[in-house]
């Protein structure tokens, strides 16, 4: 009993000491002191093409990064100054794939990954969705509130490219996917929810389209291609949802005479009704206010 009390007291005391000395700051593992040079914002080199590139690595970003306890040389090889890898979106993904093999394999099968393999610089690679700055040194865990892949932020992350009208038009994507998502029940629920994960069990882009293995909607294997696949995707959250339920989806477009005309004409009818009644009501109230004011003024 006395021993237990003593060890409790000792444990408490050492916890206090640890807290007092820790200062709350966590430093990244930097076994080879790379940051003593690369922590300098002015460090640059001139590459083969005669272009000046920055060699700066923000210590602040690295200290809070997911990989802060993995030494620089894990990714940059044991002789980091000897190598001359071409830095492309594909080589970046390959580097991540040396550890994250499963995700890399899925990504290569995705519409983004397939384009990546063809050297398309437009598409998303790992860091585009996992680093708040797009810098590989700033990659943070998915469950951090500021992570671009945190549930609450996913739509905004996709929107970085998919809300770019010009870029999307060049791929034949004319739907305003971000806007229409934000107008939908799912988008509204995500917007009104807090950052707490318990508030975020709502569908966002990736819940229907997939993430590492995301497919083009024109790909017949996409979870949203064709009403049959779509119904199965709806059913993941809406048990019992059938094909007819999926047919009610506006397909990221406005209702129009071509796209679910019944919804379009319902909207037209109620818009006219709303406008007529509100204008008439406003007219009555405004004229009444003026009349009552004149009456009052005449009485005095």
């Amino acid at each position: 009993m006395r021993g237990l009390a003593l060890s409790l007291a000792a444990g408490f005391a050492s916890a206090v000491v640890m807290l007092a000395f820790s200062g709350g700051q966590i430093y990244a593992l930097d076994e080879n002191n790379c940051l003593s040079c690369h922590g300098n914002p002015e460090l640059t080199k001139t590459n083969g093409e005669g272009k000046e590139v920055s060699l700066y690595v923000s210590e602040e970003a690295v200290n809070t990064a997911a990989h802060r306890f993995i030494d620089c040389t894990t990714c940059h090889t044991a002789q980091p100054h000897q190598v001359n890898t071409p830095l492309t979106k594909l080589s970046l993904a390959q580097k991540c794939g040396t550890c994250h093999q499963y995700q890399y394999k899925l990504h290569l099968q995705s519409v983004h990954g397939q384009q990546l393999a063809q050297g398309n610089p437009d598409v998303a690679t790992c860091v585009d969705c996992h680093s708040p700055t797009g810098n590989p040194h700033s990659v943070i865990r998915v469950l951090e509130y500021s992570a671009p892949a945190y549930k609450k932020n996913i739509a905004q992350t996709c929107a970085k490219c998919h809300d770019n009208e010009e870029l999307m038009a060049s791929y034949g994507i004319v739907e305003k996917v971000y806007e229409s998502y934000m107008r939908s029940f799912h988008g509204k629920a995500i917007q009104l929810g807090t950052y707490e994960i318990t508030q975020l069990d709502k569908a966002t882009c990736t819940n229907c389209h997939g993430y590492h293995d995301i497919k083009s909607t024109r790909d017949p294997t996409s979870p949203v291609s064709g009403v049959q696949n779509l119904a199965k995707t709806c059913e993941q959250c809406h048990p019992g949802a059938g094909v007819e339920f999926a047919r009610g989806f506006l397909g990221h477009k406005e209702a129009s005479p071509e796209n679910i005309p019944a919804a379009h004409y319902t909207e037209v009818f109620f818009t006219i009704l709303l406008t007529v009644v509100v204008v008439a009501g406003a007219f009555v109230v405004v004229t009444a206010v003026v009349r009552f004011a004149i009456n009052r003024w005449r009485e005095e």
């Binding site: 509204k188 919804a263 009444a288």
Partner: protein
Amino acid sequence: MATVARIISAEGAQEEVITRFDIHQIIQHAGLMVSFILLAVTGLPLKFPDWAVSQWWAGVWGGIETLRATHHFAAWMMGAVALYHALYILYSVLILKKPFPVKMLPSWRDFIVFFQELGYFLGLRKERPLVDRFHWREKFDYWAIFWGMPVMGISGFIMMYPVWATKFLPGWVVPAALVAHSDEAMLALIWIFMVHIFFNHFAPGVFPLNTSIFTGKVSRERYRREHPLEYERLTGTDERKEAE
């Protein structure tokens, strides 16, 4: 039907009042008012989700789940009030053999009164038109709810149970229900806050609040002013002729 009675007012002075609404009507209005306000404050954030105030307000309620549960609760409450009203009408007509409340039905005279009143507001007429038991605005409020209740109830029910609804209805009913629900709600909200609140709180003679729907009583003086035709019928006097 309205009856004339005497009550002792709070100041102890005798005040003649006319009973305008019975207890059931008072309860129905109160239930409608409470459920309407609840529905509005829990539904509006969904209409304007990108407004900072909506996000703050959803947080005050403890998140969208609470907001939605309250909206559903208030919806059932409003449905219950509607049912209460329907049963009340049926009971008084079929069981109590009271005459059918024809005075609430819109008539050609309401259109005339509407334009006459507008003419008075615009300064084209000297006098306000004479009103019977219900003013055209009161009838409009009543029938707007009569139309709005099934619209909001059915569209809301479809959105509450979309999987169930699409078991036997086509898929388009869900997006159609959303636009109908949203627009009809805005219509009701704007009308209540612009027209109903103005004429029952801010108009001369009722400021700061027309209490008749809460107490069921209206002073004889105000009844004569606001519903002269019914007042004459009730009291058997023709005030206008007496005044001449």
